[in-house]
Structure formats: structure tokens, C-alpha cells
């Protein structure tokens, strides 16, 4: 890069200002380190293949619930994020349908719910702070924020 020395100086000064006025919060560094302890090595990762927030031309401030689809080779998991804050809950369907337990993982705790004969499941409130990930048998979904 053939950089203008003035540019280099201004950029360095901006970087200092950012470090002073908008640093990475220390708590977030701990969260990032903690994320590693959540990784699963004995499950297939179901990747996010549909996200209503990414797909639609949403009107700003639209309050339609967010819909997510995760796809693994053996299973599809669809999730709707309803409510907000402490009242946030997840409603979803697994296919193929099977009455099996589903672990809802958050940063704070794991909540286990059971799908019904049609593969439907629903959590109560009190999931803890996001992001979230679901584990269903040998499939685990990507993390998603709410």
C-alpha cells in the first residue's frame, strides 16, 4: 500500500478513539471464550437454510415472528421465535416426525422439551439469554440470535 502518511496518522488516531469510546465490552470477550465449551463434536450440524429475516423484504419494524429452517442429512428442524425478552419462546416442528426429546441450548441453560407424534414442540418462557441452538438426537442446529 502506498499510503499517505496523513491517512496513516488519521486512521491511527481513529483507532485510538474507537478503543477509548467503543471498545469490545470485557464481558463479551468472556462470552466468546465460553462459546468454545458449547461446541458439540458428536453431532451432525444442521445448517441454517432459511431465515425469514434474510429472505423477506421486511418493512422496518415489522413484528411478524421470525422463522428459521435448519437442515441436516437426516432431519429438518423448523423454528418460530415468538415473544421477546424473558417471555421469549420457541415453537417448532421436526421432520421426519418423531416423539423425541429436544434440547434447547442457550448461553445460560439447557431446557428439554419433547416433540409430539407430529413432530411439533414448544418451549415455555425462561430460556435464558440467547443465542440459541437446538439439539435433537444426533443433530445440532447452528446458533441463532433472537
Amino acid at each position: 500500500m502506498d499510503d499517505d502518511p496523513e491517512d496513516i496518522e488519521l486512521e491511527a488516531e481513529l483507532r485510538q478513539a474507537a478503543e477509548l469510546l467503543d471498545p469490545v465490552p470485557a464481558r463479551l470477550l468472556r462470552d466468546a471464550a465460553q462459546a468454545y465449551t458449547f461446541r458439540t463434536i458428536d453431532a451432525e450440524l444442521a445448517e441454517l437454510t432459511f431465515d425469514s429475516l434474510a429472505a423477506e423484504e421486511l418493512v422496518r419494524g415489522s413484528d411478524r415472528p421470525r422463522l428459521l429452517t435448519f437442515q441436516a442429512s437426516t432431519r429438518t428442524i423448523e423454528v418460530e421465535v415468538a415473544g421477546a425478552g424473558d417471555d421469549r419462546r420457541l415453537i417448532g416442528t421436526i421432520s421426519p416426525a418423531e416423539p423425541i426429546p429436544i434440547d434447547v441450548r442457550s448461553r445460560e441453560r439447557v431446557t428439554t422439551v419433547t416433540a409430539d407424534e407430529l413432530g411439533r414442540f414448544q418451549t415455555g418462557a425462561g430460556l435464558g439469554a440467547g443465542p440459541y441452538s437446538l439439539r435433537c438426537g444426533d443433530v445440532v442446529t447452528d446458533w441463532f440470535s433472537a
Binding site: 500500500m1 499517505d4 496523513e6 491517512d7 496518522e9 488519521l10 486512521e11 488516531e13 481513529l14 483507532r15 485510538q16 478513539a17 474507537a18 478503543e19 477509548l20 469510546l21 467503543d22 471498545p23 469490545v24 465490552p25 463479551l28 470477550l29 462470552d31 466468546a32 471464550a33 462459546a35 468454545y36 458449547f38 461446541r39 458439540t40 463434536i41 450440524l45 431465515d51 429475516l53 434474510a54 423477506e56 421486511l58 422496518r60 419494524g61 415489522s62 448461553r107 440467547g130 443465542p131 441452538s133 445440532v140 447452528d142 446458533w143 441463532f144 440470535s145 433472537a146
Partner: protein, 206 residues
């Protein structure tokens, strides 16, 4: 964090080696990645004016995703670009829900903790340090007035430690060759704004 016995921690500048070591279970390698790329992820999360709470969600989601993907990253050398892209995509999703920080709340962020400062501390802070802080605050305030495209690119470029142009090019979906010229144009614009507001030179240089 302790490394399990019998496993040597990777101490290297080689990003790809850190990713591969973390994928094998080396938690020190993971922490090295956190140290190296947290600044970039945070900068990208804040680049489009997301409020602190939304930017925190974006930051956490990017790192939790990486933890699950660590053994599946196609190009371990470019994990910084992977993280930055994930953070940018997530922040664009949040923007679509209309949860952008208002200018007011951004201004609030410019004077963090000012009320917590005791008179004793205020006296202890040297005049020079106070000038420096005031200058940083005015610089930062002027920076917020740049057009969105400039603010976004520069905010990411001034992450600590500084990201590579390759990482920025991938995250912002820009040709790598256009980053340098865009950066120069944006810095020029900032310099003009600073001049208009009578903010020139470094403290002590003016």
C-alpha cells in the same frame, strides 16, 4: 485456561494453525483466536450503527457459530473473513427489524462513565490526558457524521488489531482493489469535516 496435559498449546501467528488446533480441542488456540478477532467482530457489529445490545447479540452469535463450525471451516487462514461476514450478515438482519440505535443513544455512548468520575479522579487526570480525551471525543463525533458507506468501512478498518484488506473485502463483498481508494476518499472526507469544525492537527501539534 489450562491446556490438557500432553497437548502443546499452539503459539503462533499462523491463523490457519490456530483454527486447526482449536478444532482438535486446544482451548488456548481458541482463546488466541478470540484475542485476535474479537475487535474485528465487534467493529463490524457496530459499523452500521447497531445499538450496544443488538451488537452484543451479533457478536455472540458469530462466536457461537464459529465454535460449532471450527472443524468445518473451508479456509482456516481466512477465519477472520468468516467471522466478519457472519457478523455483517447478522447485523443486516437486525437492521431489517428496525432496531437501529437512535443518534441520541449513540451520543450517550460518547461519554461513557462520565458521571462515575469522582472529583479526585478528575483532578488526577492530567490536563494533557483530558485534552486527548476531548479530542478523541470530538473526532469520534465527527466520524459519526460521515456517510454510511464510509463509516461502515472505516469502522471495520480501525478494529484492534487491524484487519487485513482480504478480510474486509470478503466481509463487505468488495473487490480488494477498491478498499484502498475508498478508504483514502473516506479519510479525506473526514479531514474536510474536521477542518469545517475547526478540529485540526493533534493536540500539541496545532
Amino acid at each position: 485456561m489450562r491446556v490438557p496435559s500432553g497437548k502443546a498449546a499452539v503459539r503462533t501467528d499462523d491463523t490457519g494453525a490456530l483454527v486447526r488446533a482449536a478444532a482438535r480441542g486446544d482451548s488456548e488456540a481458541w482463546e488466541a483466536l478470540v484475542g485476535r478477532f474479537s475487535g474485528l467482530v465487534w467493529s463490524v457489529a457496530r459499523a452500521r450503527g447497531l445499538g450496544a445490545a443488538e451488537a452484543e447479540d451479533v457478536f455472540q452469535t458469530a462466536w457461537f457459530r464459529l465454535a460449532e463450525h471450527i472443524g468445518r471451516i473451508k479456509d482456516p487462514e481466512q477465519v477472520g473473513a468468516w467471522l466478519a461476514t457472519t457478523a455483517r450478515n447478522e447485523s443486516l438482519k437486525v437492521l431489517r427489524t428496525g432496531q437501529r440505535a437512535t443518534p441520541t443513544s449513540d451520543m450517550d455512548m460518547l461519554t461513557p462513565g462520565i458521571d462515575e468520575e469522582s472529583p479526585e479522579q478528575a483532578v488526577l487526570e492530567s490536563e494533557e490526558a483530558a485534552l486527548k480525551r476531548e479530542r478523541a471525543r470530538r473526532l469520534w463525533q465527527t466520524f459519526q457524521e460521515l456517510p454510511e458507506r464510509c463509516r461502515e468501512l472505516l469502522r471495520a478498518l480501525i478494529a484492534s488489531p487491524p484487519p487485513s484488506y482480504a478480510e474486509i473485502a470478503v466481509a463487505f463483498d468488495m473487490p480488494i482493489g477498491s478498499i484502498g481508494p475508498t478508504r483514502a476518499r473516506c479519510l479525506k472526507q473526514l479531514r474536510e469535516l474536521l477542518a469545517e469544525r475547526g478540529i485540526t492537527g493533534r493536540p500539541g501539534h496545532s
